[in-house]
Protein backbone atom coordinates (compact mmCIF):
# COMPACT_ATOMS: atom_id res chain seq x y z
CA UNK A 1 0.00 0.00 0.00
CA UNK A 2 2.72 2.41 1.03
CA UNK A 3 4.72 1.37 -2.01
CA UNK A 4 1.86 2.28 -4.23
CA UNK A 5 1.68 5.75 -2.67
CA UNK A 6 5.36 6.26 -3.13
CA UNK A 7 5.10 5.12 -6.73
CA UNK A 8 2.14 7.39 -7.45
CA UNK A 9 3.94 10.19 -5.66
CA UNK A 10 7.08 9.88 -7.69
CA UNK A 11 5.08 9.62 -10.91
CA UNK A 12 3.38 12.86 -9.95
CA UNK A 13 6.71 14.48 -9.18
CA UNK A 14 8.06 13.38 -12.54
CA UNK A 15 5.02 14.74 -14.32
CA UNK A 16 5.34 18.07 -12.52
CA UNK A 17 9.02 18.22 -13.38
CA UNK A 18 8.21 17.53 -17.03
CA UNK A 19 5.63 20.32 -17.03
CA UNK A 20 7.94 22.78 -15.35
CA UNK A 21 10.61 21.90 -17.88
CA UNK A 22 8.40 23.13 -20.68
CA UNK A 23 7.89 26.87 -20.43
CA UNK A 24 6.21 26.86 -23.85
CA UNK A 25 3.47 24.51 -22.67
CA UNK A 26 3.11 26.50 -19.45
CA UNK A 27 2.73 29.86 -21.10
CA UNK A 28 0.30 28.42 -23.64
CA UNK A 29 -1.75 26.98 -20.77
CA UNK A 30 -1.88 30.44 -19.19
CA UNK A 31 -3.06 32.01 -22.45
CA UNK A 32 -5.75 29.31 -22.69
CA UNK A 33 -6.87 30.06 -19.15
CA UNK A 34 -7.14 33.75 -20.14
CA UNK A 35 -9.40 32.75 -23.04
CA UNK A 36 -11.60 30.77 -20.66
CA UNK A 37 -11.73 33.69 -18.23
CA UNK A 38 -12.60 36.18 -20.98
CA UNK A 39 -15.51 34.19 -22.38
CA UNK A 40 -17.98 34.94 -19.54
CA UNK A 41 -16.86 38.59 -19.41
CA UNK A 42 -17.57 39.03 -23.11
CA UNK A 43 -20.94 37.30 -22.77
CA UNK A 44 -21.87 39.70 -19.97
CA UNK A 45 -20.70 42.69 -22.00
CA UNK A 46 -22.89 41.62 -24.90
CA UNK A 47 -25.81 40.98 -22.57
CA UNK A 48 -25.90 37.27 -23.43
CA UNK A 49 -25.36 36.40 -19.80
CA UNK A 50 -26.58 38.13 -16.63
CA UNK A 51 -23.98 40.18 -14.78
CA UNK A 52 -22.35 38.38 -11.86
CA UNK A 53 -19.81 40.19 -9.71
CA UNK A 54 -18.52 36.86 -8.38
CA UNK A 55 -17.73 35.60 -11.84
CA UNK A 56 -16.03 38.84 -12.81
CA UNK A 57 -13.82 38.59 -9.71
CA UNK A 58 -13.00 34.99 -10.60
CA UNK A 59 -11.92 35.96 -14.11
CA UNK A 60 -9.80 38.84 -12.82
CA UNK A 61 -8.13 36.44 -10.37
CA UNK A 62 -7.25 34.13 -13.29
CA UNK A 63 -5.69 37.09 -15.12
CA UNK A 64 -3.75 38.20 -12.05
CA UNK A 65 -2.40 34.75 -11.31
CA UNK A 66 -1.40 34.05 -14.91
CA UNK A 67 0.08 37.50 -15.39
CA UNK A 68 2.37 37.07 -12.39
CA UNK A 69 3.92 33.91 -13.86
CA UNK A 70 3.77 34.78 -17.53
CA UNK A 71 6.92 36.89 -17.97
CA UNK A 72 9.05 34.25 -16.24
CA UNK A 73 8.17 31.66 -18.92
CA UNK A 74 10.33 33.01 -21.73
CA UNK A 75 13.84 31.81 -20.83
CA UNK A 76 16.53 32.02 -23.49
CA UNK A 77 16.15 29.16 -25.97
CA UNK A 78 12.38 28.89 -25.60
CA UNK A 79 11.82 30.94 -28.75
CA UNK A 80 11.57 27.80 -30.87
CA UNK A 81 9.75 24.49 -30.80
CA UNK A 82 6.39 23.08 -29.74
CA UNK A 83 4.46 25.26 -32.15
CA UNK A 84 5.26 28.41 -30.30
CA UNK A 85 3.88 31.57 -31.85
CA UNK A 86 6.05 33.77 -29.67
CA UNK A 87 7.63 36.56 -31.67
CA UNK A 88 11.43 36.98 -31.57
CA UNK A 89 10.62 40.51 -30.41
CA UNK A 90 9.96 39.12 -26.92
CA UNK A 91 13.70 38.56 -26.61
CA UNK A 92 14.98 41.40 -28.78
CA UNK A 93 12.69 43.93 -27.06
CA UNK A 94 12.55 42.38 -23.60
CA UNK A 95 11.96 45.75 -21.93
CA UNK A 96 8.93 46.48 -24.09
CA UNK A 97 7.51 43.02 -23.47
CA UNK A 98 7.94 43.41 -19.73
CA UNK A 99 6.31 46.84 -19.84
CA UNK A 100 3.29 45.38 -21.67
CA UNK A 101 2.92 42.75 -18.93
CA UNK A 102 3.30 45.37 -16.21
CA UNK A 103 0.66 47.54 -17.83
CA UNK A 104 -1.77 44.61 -17.82
CA UNK A 105 -0.92 43.90 -14.18
CA UNK A 106 -1.63 47.48 -13.12
CA UNK A 107 -4.91 47.52 -15.02
CA UNK A 108 -6.05 44.20 -13.55
CA UNK A 109 -5.45 45.59 -10.05
CA UNK A 110 -7.29 48.80 -10.94
CA UNK A 111 -10.22 46.80 -12.35
CA UNK A 112 -10.41 44.70 -9.18
CA UNK A 113 -10.80 47.93 -7.21
CA UNK A 114 -13.11 49.71 -9.62
CA UNK A 115 -15.67 47.04 -10.49
CA UNK A 116 -18.54 47.05 -8.02
CA UNK A 117 -21.59 46.67 -10.21
CA UNK A 118 -22.66 46.21 -13.81
CA UNK A 119 -22.10 49.87 -14.74
CA UNK A 120 -18.53 49.96 -13.45
CA UNK A 121 -17.94 46.57 -15.08
CA UNK A 122 -19.04 47.86 -18.47
CA UNK A 123 -16.93 50.98 -18.04
CA UNK A 124 -13.76 49.08 -17.15
CA UNK A 125 -13.53 45.74 -18.94
CA UNK A 126 -13.43 46.77 -22.64
CA UNK A 127 -10.28 48.84 -22.03
CA UNK A 128 -8.74 46.01 -20.00
CA UNK A 129 -9.32 43.55 -22.84
CA UNK A 130 -7.50 45.84 -25.24
CA UNK A 131 -4.33 44.55 -23.58
CA UNK A 132 -4.77 41.18 -25.33
CA UNK A 133 -4.69 42.50 -28.87
CA UNK A 134 -2.09 45.18 -28.17
CA UNK A 135 0.39 42.68 -26.78
CA UNK A 136 -0.36 40.06 -29.45
CA UNK A 137 0.09 42.54 -32.25
CA UNK A 138 3.62 43.26 -31.10
CA UNK A 139 4.77 40.00 -29.57
CA UNK A 140 2.85 37.16 -31.18
CA UNK A 141 3.45 35.97 -34.72
CA UNK A 142 0.58 35.66 -37.14
CA UNK A 143 -1.55 32.72 -36.23
Amino acid sequence: MIHRFVLAGSALLLATAALAASPIADRQAIMKSFGGATKPLAAMLKGEKPFSLDEVKKSLAVYAEGNAKFVTLFPAGSDKGEKTEASPKIWSDAAGFKAANEKFKTEIAAAEMAIKDEASFKATIPALLKNCGACHEAYRLKD
Binding site: K83, E85, S87, L129, G133, H136, E137, R140, L141, D143
Partner: protein, 310 residues
Protein backbone atom coordinates in the same frame (compact mmCIF):
# COMPACT_ATOMS: atom_id res chain seq x y z
CA UNK B 1 23.56 27.41 -91.91
CA UNK B 2 22.72 30.97 -92.77
CA UNK B 3 19.31 29.83 -93.79
CA UNK B 4 18.71 28.48 -90.28
CA UNK B 5 20.06 31.48 -88.37
CA UNK B 6 17.88 34.11 -89.97
CA UNK B 7 14.53 32.55 -89.00
CA UNK B 8 15.84 32.03 -85.45
CA UNK B 9 17.09 35.57 -85.27
CA UNK B 10 13.83 36.85 -86.68
CA UNK B 11 11.87 34.83 -84.10
CA UNK B 12 14.03 36.18 -81.29
CA UNK B 13 13.61 39.76 -82.45
CA UNK B 14 9.85 39.32 -82.89
CA UNK B 15 9.59 37.58 -79.50
CA UNK B 16 11.41 40.37 -77.74
CA UNK B 17 9.30 42.96 -79.49
CA UNK B 18 6.13 41.05 -78.57
CA UNK B 19 7.23 40.95 -74.93
CA UNK B 20 7.87 44.66 -74.79
CA UNK B 21 4.65 45.54 -76.55
CA UNK B 22 2.37 43.14 -74.68
CA UNK B 23 3.80 44.07 -71.30
CA UNK B 24 3.25 47.80 -71.73
CA UNK B 25 0.64 49.26 -69.39
CA UNK B 26 -1.20 50.57 -72.47
CA UNK B 27 -1.58 47.00 -73.74
CA UNK B 28 -3.24 45.99 -70.49
CA UNK B 29 -5.62 48.95 -70.55
CA UNK B 30 -6.60 48.17 -74.14
CA UNK B 31 -7.07 44.43 -73.66
CA UNK B 32 -8.38 44.05 -70.11
CA UNK B 33 -9.27 47.43 -68.66
CA UNK B 34 -12.98 48.15 -68.42
CA UNK B 35 -12.37 51.86 -68.89
CA UNK B 36 -14.78 52.68 -66.10
CA UNK B 37 -12.37 55.28 -64.83
CA UNK B 38 -14.62 58.32 -64.60
CA UNK B 39 -16.28 59.18 -61.29
CA UNK B 40 -19.96 60.02 -61.67
CA UNK B 41 -20.87 61.98 -58.54
CA UNK B 42 -19.55 64.53 -56.04
CA UNK B 43 -16.78 63.44 -53.66
CA UNK B 44 -17.70 62.02 -50.26
CA UNK B 45 -14.73 62.33 -47.90
CA UNK B 46 -16.47 60.36 -45.11
CA UNK B 47 -16.92 57.43 -47.49
CA UNK B 48 -13.26 57.83 -48.44
CA UNK B 49 -12.31 57.45 -44.78
CA UNK B 50 -14.37 54.26 -44.51
CA UNK B 51 -12.58 52.86 -47.55
CA UNK B 52 -9.24 53.89 -46.08
CA UNK B 53 -10.04 51.82 -42.98
CA UNK B 54 -11.58 48.92 -44.87
CA UNK B 55 -8.64 48.90 -47.28
CA UNK B 56 -6.04 48.81 -44.54
CA UNK B 57 -3.94 51.46 -46.30
CA UNK B 58 -2.30 52.45 -43.01
CA UNK B 59 -1.15 48.87 -42.35
CA UNK B 60 1.47 49.15 -45.08
CA UNK B 61 1.85 52.87 -45.73
CA UNK B 62 1.75 54.51 -42.27
CA UNK B 63 5.11 55.23 -40.62
CA UNK B 64 5.77 52.40 -38.12
CA UNK B 65 6.10 54.80 -35.17
CA UNK B 66 2.92 56.72 -35.97
CA UNK B 67 0.16 56.02 -33.44
CA UNK B 68 -2.40 58.11 -35.34
CA UNK B 69 -1.79 55.95 -38.45
CA UNK B 70 -2.31 58.91 -40.75
CA UNK B 71 1.32 59.81 -41.44
CA UNK B 72 1.61 57.89 -44.69
CA UNK B 73 5.31 58.21 -45.44
CA UNK B 74 5.70 54.45 -45.98
CA UNK B 75 5.69 51.53 -43.58
CA UNK B 76 7.66 48.47 -42.62
CA UNK B 77 9.24 46.39 -45.42
CA UNK B 78 7.11 43.46 -46.57
CA UNK B 79 9.35 40.38 -46.59
CA UNK B 80 8.02 37.80 -49.07
CA UNK B 81 9.32 34.73 -50.96
CA UNK B 82 9.79 37.01 -54.00
CA UNK B 83 11.95 39.51 -52.15
CA UNK B 84 11.49 42.61 -50.03
CA UNK B 85 8.88 45.20 -50.92
CA UNK B 86 9.14 48.67 -49.40
CA UNK B 87 5.70 50.36 -49.27
CA UNK B 88 6.04 53.87 -50.75
CA UNK B 89 5.04 57.26 -49.40
CA UNK B 90 1.37 57.94 -50.26
CA UNK B 91 1.03 61.08 -48.14
CA UNK B 92 0.01 64.36 -49.71
CA UNK B 93 3.66 65.48 -49.80
CA UNK B 94 4.29 66.97 -53.25
CA UNK B 95 7.87 65.76 -53.48
CA UNK B 96 7.97 62.32 -51.83
CA UNK B 97 4.27 61.45 -51.74
CA UNK B 98 1.35 61.61 -54.15
CA UNK B 99 0.57 65.30 -53.63
CA UNK B 100 0.96 66.08 -57.33
CA UNK B 101 -1.11 63.19 -58.62
CA UNK B 102 -4.36 63.81 -60.43
CA UNK B 103 -7.48 61.93 -59.47
CA UNK B 104 -7.40 60.03 -62.77
CA UNK B 105 -3.83 58.92 -62.10
CA UNK B 106 -4.84 57.67 -58.65
CA UNK B 107 -7.80 55.74 -60.02
CA UNK B 108 -5.58 54.13 -62.61
CA UNK B 109 -3.01 53.18 -59.95
CA UNK B 110 -5.66 51.58 -57.76
CA UNK B 111 -7.57 49.82 -60.54
CA UNK B 112 -4.86 48.92 -63.06
CA UNK B 113 -1.70 48.97 -60.95
CA UNK B 114 0.01 51.59 -63.10
CA UNK B 115 2.00 54.57 -61.81
CA UNK B 116 1.59 58.09 -63.24
CA UNK B 117 4.93 57.56 -65.02
CA UNK B 118 3.44 54.53 -66.75
CA UNK B 119 5.26 51.85 -64.73
CA UNK B 120 3.67 48.67 -63.46
CA UNK B 121 3.26 48.25 -59.73
CA UNK B 122 3.96 44.84 -58.25
CA UNK B 123 0.82 43.11 -57.00
CA UNK B 124 2.17 43.24 -53.43
CA UNK B 125 0.07 46.41 -53.69
CA UNK B 126 -3.24 44.54 -53.84
CA UNK B 127 -4.73 46.26 -56.88
CA UNK B 128 -5.91 42.78 -57.85
CA UNK B 129 -8.59 43.42 -55.21
CA UNK B 130 -8.83 47.21 -55.36
CA UNK B 131 -9.61 47.05 -59.11
CA UNK B 132 -13.11 45.91 -58.08
CA UNK B 133 -13.79 49.31 -56.44
CA UNK B 134 -15.97 51.73 -58.32
CA UNK B 135 -14.21 54.83 -59.65
CA UNK B 136 -16.48 56.88 -57.36
CA UNK B 137 -15.22 55.05 -54.28
CA UNK B 138 -11.60 55.38 -55.37
CA UNK B 139 -12.13 59.11 -55.99
CA UNK B 140 -13.61 59.42 -52.47
CA UNK B 141 -10.56 57.68 -51.04
CA UNK B 142 -8.31 60.07 -52.96
CA UNK B 143 -10.25 63.02 -51.54
CA UNK B 144 -9.78 61.63 -48.02
CA UNK B 145 -6.04 61.03 -48.52
CA UNK B 146 -5.75 64.69 -49.53
CA UNK B 147 -6.99 65.69 -46.05
CA UNK B 148 -4.13 63.80 -44.34
CA UNK B 149 -0.84 65.53 -43.53
CA UNK B 150 2.08 65.68 -45.94
CA UNK B 151 5.00 63.60 -44.67
CA UNK B 152 8.49 63.57 -46.09
CA UNK B 153 10.59 60.51 -46.81
CA UNK B 154 11.09 58.17 -49.73
CA UNK B 155 11.01 54.41 -49.27
CA UNK B 156 14.04 52.43 -50.48
CA UNK B 157 13.61 50.57 -53.79
CA UNK B 158 12.29 47.00 -53.64
CA UNK B 159 14.87 44.27 -53.31
CA UNK B 160 13.59 41.38 -55.43
CA UNK B 161 14.99 38.11 -56.71
CA UNK B 162 15.35 37.45 -60.46
CA UNK B 163 13.12 37.15 -62.51
CA UNK B 164 10.67 39.08 -60.32
CA UNK B 165 13.07 42.01 -60.44
CA UNK B 166 12.07 42.61 -64.08
CA UNK B 167 9.22 45.05 -63.56
CA UNK B 168 8.05 44.88 -67.17
CA UNK B 169 7.21 41.21 -66.59
CA UNK B 170 4.35 42.31 -64.35
CA UNK B 171 2.57 43.34 -67.56
CA UNK B 172 2.38 39.73 -68.67
CA UNK B 173 1.22 38.69 -65.22
CA UNK B 174 -1.58 41.26 -65.38
CA UNK B 175 -2.80 39.99 -68.75
CA UNK B 176 -3.04 36.54 -67.19
CA UNK B 177 -4.41 37.35 -63.75
CA UNK B 178 -5.79 40.87 -63.39
CA UNK B 179 -9.46 41.33 -64.13
CA UNK B 180 -10.30 44.92 -64.93
CA UNK B 181 -13.93 44.87 -63.89
CA UNK B 182 -15.69 46.67 -61.06
CA UNK B 183 -17.51 44.26 -58.71
CA UNK B 184 -21.14 44.20 -59.80
CA UNK B 185 -24.03 43.75 -57.37
CA UNK B 186 -25.88 40.44 -57.46
CA UNK B 187 -29.62 41.12 -57.73
CA UNK B 188 -30.48 37.71 -56.27
CA UNK B 189 -28.74 38.53 -53.00
CA UNK B 190 -29.69 40.85 -50.15
CA UNK B 191 -28.42 44.40 -49.83
CA UNK B 192 -26.27 43.38 -46.83
CA UNK B 193 -24.73 40.46 -48.71
CA UNK B 194 -23.81 42.74 -51.59
CA UNK B 195 -22.31 45.27 -49.21
CA UNK B 196 -20.25 42.52 -47.57
CA UNK B 197 -19.23 41.04 -50.91
CA UNK B 198 -17.97 44.44 -52.02
CA UNK B 199 -16.03 45.17 -48.80
CA UNK B 200 -14.46 41.70 -48.52
CA UNK B 201 -13.51 41.34 -52.19
CA UNK B 202 -12.34 44.88 -52.97
CA UNK B 203 -11.12 47.17 -50.20
CA UNK B 204 -10.84 44.47 -47.52
CA UNK B 205 -8.69 42.34 -49.86
CA UNK B 206 -9.14 39.40 -47.47
CA UNK B 207 -8.46 36.81 -50.19
CA UNK B 208 -4.94 38.15 -50.73
CA UNK B 209 -3.70 36.42 -47.58
CA UNK B 210 -6.44 33.83 -47.06
CA UNK B 211 -5.91 31.98 -50.37
CA UNK B 212 -3.20 29.70 -51.74
CA UNK B 213 -1.16 31.01 -54.68
CA UNK B 214 0.42 29.36 -57.71
CA UNK B 215 4.10 29.45 -58.66
CA UNK B 216 3.65 32.86 -60.29
CA UNK B 217 2.15 34.29 -57.13
CA UNK B 218 -1.44 34.45 -58.38
CA UNK B 219 -4.39 33.30 -56.27
CA UNK B 220 -5.64 29.84 -57.32
CA UNK B 221 -9.22 30.74 -58.28
CA UNK B 222 -11.01 27.55 -57.22
CA UNK B 223 -9.21 27.57 -53.86
CA UNK B 224 -10.00 31.21 -53.11
CA UNK B 225 -10.50 31.86 -49.37
CA UNK B 226 -9.47 28.30 -48.41
CA UNK B 227 -6.49 29.64 -46.44
CA UNK B 228 -2.96 30.43 -47.49
CA UNK B 229 0.58 30.53 -46.29
CA UNK B 230 1.44 33.65 -44.36
CA UNK B 231 3.03 35.77 -47.09
CA UNK B 232 5.38 37.13 -44.47
CA UNK B 233 6.69 33.78 -43.34
CA UNK B 234 5.56 31.68 -40.43
CA UNK B 235 2.15 30.06 -40.01
CA UNK B 236 -0.97 30.06 -42.14
CA UNK B 237 -3.79 32.49 -42.76
CA UNK B 238 -6.84 30.34 -41.92
CA UNK B 239 -9.54 29.00 -44.22
CA UNK B 240 -12.48 31.46 -44.38
CA UNK B 241 -14.91 29.19 -46.26
CA UNK B 242 -17.68 27.11 -44.69
CA UNK B 243 -15.47 24.03 -44.57
CA UNK B 244 -14.97 22.31 -41.19
CA UNK B 245 -11.35 23.50 -41.30
CA UNK B 246 -12.74 26.98 -41.93
CA UNK B 247 -15.53 29.08 -40.44
CA UNK B 248 -18.29 26.42 -40.53
CA UNK B 249 -18.65 26.46 -36.76
CA UNK B 250 -18.51 30.27 -36.51
CA UNK B 251 -21.70 32.31 -36.28
CA UNK B 252 -22.10 35.71 -37.94
CA UNK B 253 -21.73 37.20 -34.48
CA UNK B 254 -18.44 35.38 -33.94
CA UNK B 255 -17.05 36.93 -37.13
CA UNK B 256 -18.32 40.38 -36.13
CA UNK B 257 -16.62 40.03 -32.73
CA UNK B 258 -13.33 39.06 -34.36
CA UNK B 259 -13.47 42.02 -36.74
CA UNK B 260 -14.36 44.37 -33.90
CA UNK B 261 -12.34 43.17 -30.90
CA UNK B 262 -9.93 40.58 -32.30
CA UNK B 263 -11.31 37.68 -30.27
CA UNK B 264 -12.02 34.21 -31.68
CA UNK B 265 -14.99 32.19 -30.31
CA UNK B 266 -12.57 30.68 -27.72
CA UNK B 267 -11.54 34.19 -26.74
CA UNK B 268 -8.12 33.73 -28.13
CA UNK B 269 -6.93 37.13 -29.30
CA UNK B 270 -5.45 37.20 -32.81
CA UNK B 271 -1.81 38.15 -33.26
CA UNK B 272 0.64 39.52 -35.80
CA UNK B 273 -0.71 40.92 -39.06
CA UNK B 274 -4.32 40.00 -38.25
CA UNK B 275 -4.30 42.25 -35.18
CA UNK B 276 -3.14 44.97 -37.55
CA UNK B 277 -6.17 44.14 -39.74
CA UNK B 278 -8.46 44.29 -36.71
CA UNK B 279 -7.26 47.85 -36.02
CA UNK B 280 -8.71 48.68 -39.44
CA UNK B 281 -11.94 46.70 -39.21
CA UNK B 282 -12.57 47.98 -35.67
CA UNK B 283 -12.92 51.45 -37.23
CA UNK B 284 -15.73 50.33 -39.54
CA UNK B 285 -19.42 50.60 -38.64
CA UNK B 286 -21.26 47.68 -37.02
CA UNK B 287 -23.33 47.48 -40.16
CA UNK B 288 -20.24 47.05 -42.35
CA UNK B 289 -18.81 44.34 -40.10
CA UNK B 290 -22.16 42.56 -40.09
CA UNK B 291 -22.26 42.71 -43.90
CA UNK B 292 -18.78 41.22 -44.16
CA UNK B 293 -19.83 38.39 -41.82
CA UNK B 294 -22.94 37.68 -43.90
CA UNK B 295 -20.86 37.42 -47.05
CA UNK B 296 -18.17 35.24 -45.45
CA UNK B 297 -20.85 32.88 -44.09
CA UNK B 298 -22.09 32.44 -47.66
CA UNK B 299 -18.77 31.12 -49.03
CA UNK B 300 -19.11 27.52 -50.29
CA UNK B 301 -16.95 25.08 -48.33
CA UNK B 302 -13.51 24.39 -49.83
CA UNK B 303 -11.17 22.03 -48.02
CA UNK B 304 -8.02 23.87 -47.06
CA UNK B 305 -4.68 22.65 -45.97
CA UNK B 306 -5.07 21.88 -42.25
CA UNK B 307 -3.50 24.30 -39.84
CA UNK B 308 -0.87 23.05 -37.47
CA UNK B 309 -2.59 21.62 -34.39
CA UNK B 310 -2.41 23.81 -31.30
Amino acid sequence: MRRLISPLLLAAVLGTAAFFISTRPEAYSALRGDHALEPTRARDVENGKTLFNAGGCASCHAAPDDESRTKLSGGKPLVTPFGIFNPPNISSDTKDGIGQWTEAQFIRAMREGVSPEGKHYYPAFPYTSYRGLSPDDVADLFAYLKTLPAAEGKAPVHDLAFPYSIRQGVGLWKLLYLSGTVIAPDAKQSLEWNQGHYLVETAGHCAECHSPRNALGAIIADKRFSGGPNPEGKGRAPNLTQDTTGLASWSEDDIVTLLKDGFTPDYDSVGGSMSEVVRNTASLSDQDRQAMAIYLKSLAPIAGEARAPK
